[in-house]
Symmetry: C2
DNA sequence: CTGAAAGCGCTTACAG
DNA sequence: CTGAAAGCGCTTACAG
């Protein structure tokens, strides 16, 4: 069954069949009905390749999940519990617009070459990247080529020029850090330590700023010795917490991510400090482990579901309207209170 | 960049460029190298639609996850923890063969129409179905149309003729039931009750047979009053367990799925029977809840990872070789011992 | 409102 | 070994 046969059966030309299928306005209702009837009767569906070769968008977007094992950044999307949630959301939202989703997982550069190929060969009309490191060269290449791309959870500031041509969806690091610090203050804590993230990354800087802002608003002096540098790894959290706990009356630590917060829990164990009895600890990200570690970690949950929806809808809009005015979206992290935080003594 | 430009640059014809790309044997090494060089230099990737329109397989398979809320069968694949595991496996295995995976989720008939469309319009070269009810009319239609299809976890016997034209991957219900019954016997239980699944479904029949076989081998009389019919719902498990526990010295119950095993736990609670102290309970499926209910349920885990691999590799093989000799694959369920089983008193 | 025709970018018999 | 040409099944100016 192809459009010629349908045309013959309906007594019109291929052009008209095509017009009906593509919902052109200048087809009389009667003709349209006649054609539609034949189409339905023969269960005809126009060939996707032919349509796309003839210039139609193929209505497939790619979801590319970057899962490099070497990743040491503050991003945590590839952990399995987010995977399915985020993927389902992208698929569901795409479906609303008649789009299908091709899901790819890349864990090395070879995989990335394959992903680039599906952009270049037009298998997909655009793509959503999640996970991976900031400013990935491969992603930058694709953006520069003019492909429609949404990037979830990567630091945009480093390559301002390039990333202006993409959709960026990020968590509001500043507000998250600000809110959780306010929460610690509300528990009565006054001597709060902060373990920073990698300050080369925007997330590290913003989380530090949010922390400071909350203290300022509470009229609490920001002491340098209450701020230790970390780099998002658990070990850096352990060392930083050791220093923090050595010489002052700190009753709470806000670590810029969960890995470092977990390192801090271990530091507290070494010193026989009860958490949360003697020391409150809070993180950022809500990685899977945070739920299972004892005490379960109070942290900030990154709303990947919301981010998936924003990325998908905006990407599809950009494709459908050939819209080049890309945007930068920010979503709020939500405080998740578990067992590692308690009132100050 | 298209094949004509590449041809020009390499000083050959489009035909030759195509031959190089498609690895024809009758191209001299020298020519090949020359063409390859130009291709690499200009980062050329042949248009996927054009290739597929010209007769090439587009190397995309569909993974269709059926997630109908009304499902009451013994199948449990759509629960989220399997979703990501199964999906990753399909994607990883497909990648090995140069295939990409389009993931679709269907939860109603409208969705299914969209799925059928991507078969008919050749967006995908084949598909793997997981979840859903046995003998779904939509799946049968697609198989009858001659599309390459793998069905995971659906009962094949009901439509023998149709399903012979598809790849079937199922868990070995008989052996699973046999093994777990042997395990109960090894704990010293002699009076073991069985709550059957839906005996209209092959899984229900096979699980019952496996149960009986183990008892026979142990020379234990199979008493009718030790076997109660269920239909895979939690409530049917509750009622069946009540009857089972009323009038005889049963010390263990093997329910044909986890839902019914959970119903049995509730029946034991009603009767103030300690599980596993006074009553051992075992299920089949290892649904997510089984890990969290107290006591955590001893059951049989369906190895979806293995099933994903089998389905993917065989489907792609069928596509690549245009092989019509479809097969029926069976994998073993693995016993997962948790807290609901213990030695007989 | 509608048809004939060109064109999308490939692959593959066909002929040499 | 290799090129010219047909063909895959659509869409869309173009002309009427």
């Amino acid at each position: 069954m192809n459009s010629i046969e349908i045309a013959k059966l309906a007594g019109v030309s291929r052009s008209t069949v095509s017009r009906v299928i593509n919902n052109y306005t200048n087809v009389p209702e009667e003709t349209k009905l006649k054609v539609l009837e034949v189409i339905k009767k023969y269960n005809y569906v126009p060939d996707a390749s032919a349509r796309s070769l003839a210039g139609k968008n193929n209505k497939i977007i790619g979801l590319i999940i970057i899962d490099t094992k070497t990743e040491s950044s503050g991003h945590i999307v590839s952990s399995s519990s987010y995977f399915s949630q985020f993927t389902s959301l992208v698929i569901d939202n795409a479906k609303k617009f008649g789009y299908n989703v091709l899901v790819s997982m890349v864990s090395n550069d070879r995989d990335f070459q394959d992903v680039k190929a599906i952009f270049y060969n037009k298998t997909i009309a655009g793509g959503i990247f999640i996970g991976g490191n900031d400013s990935d060269k491969n992603i930058i290449e694709l953006i520069e080529q003019g492909f429609k791309i949404a990037v979830v959870g990567q630091d945009p500031q480093r390559n301002t020029d390039v990333f202006k041509k993409a959709i960026l969806v990020n968590v509001d690091d500043f507000t998250g850090a600000y809110e959780i610090t306010k929460y610690l203050l509300s528990l009565g804590h006054r001597n709060i330590g902060h373990i920073t993230g990698d300050l080369q990354q925007l997330s590290g800087i913003k989380r530090l700023e949010g922390f400071k802002k909350a203290l300022e608003e509470a009229n609490i002096e920001i002491k340098d010795k209450y701020i230790e540098k970390g780099n998002y790894t658990e070990f850096s959290g352990l060392s930083a917490a050791r220093k923090l706990l050595k010489n002052n009356g700190i009753t709470a630590i806000f670590a810029a991510n969960d890995n470092m917060a977990i390192g801090s829990i271990h530091a507290a164990e070494e010193l026989n400090l009860d958490v949360p009895g003697r020391l409150t600890i809070a993180g950022f990200d809500d990685i899977e482990l945070s739920r299972y570690i004892r005490p379960a970690l109070t942290t900030l949950r990154v709303p990947f579901d919301e981010m998936g929806e924003i990325a998908t809808c905006n990407l599809i809009h950009a494709i459908d309207e050939d819209d080049k005015s890309f945007n930068n979206y920010s979503v709020d992290a939500r405080i998740v209170i578990r067992d590692s935080s308690d009132k100050a003594l």
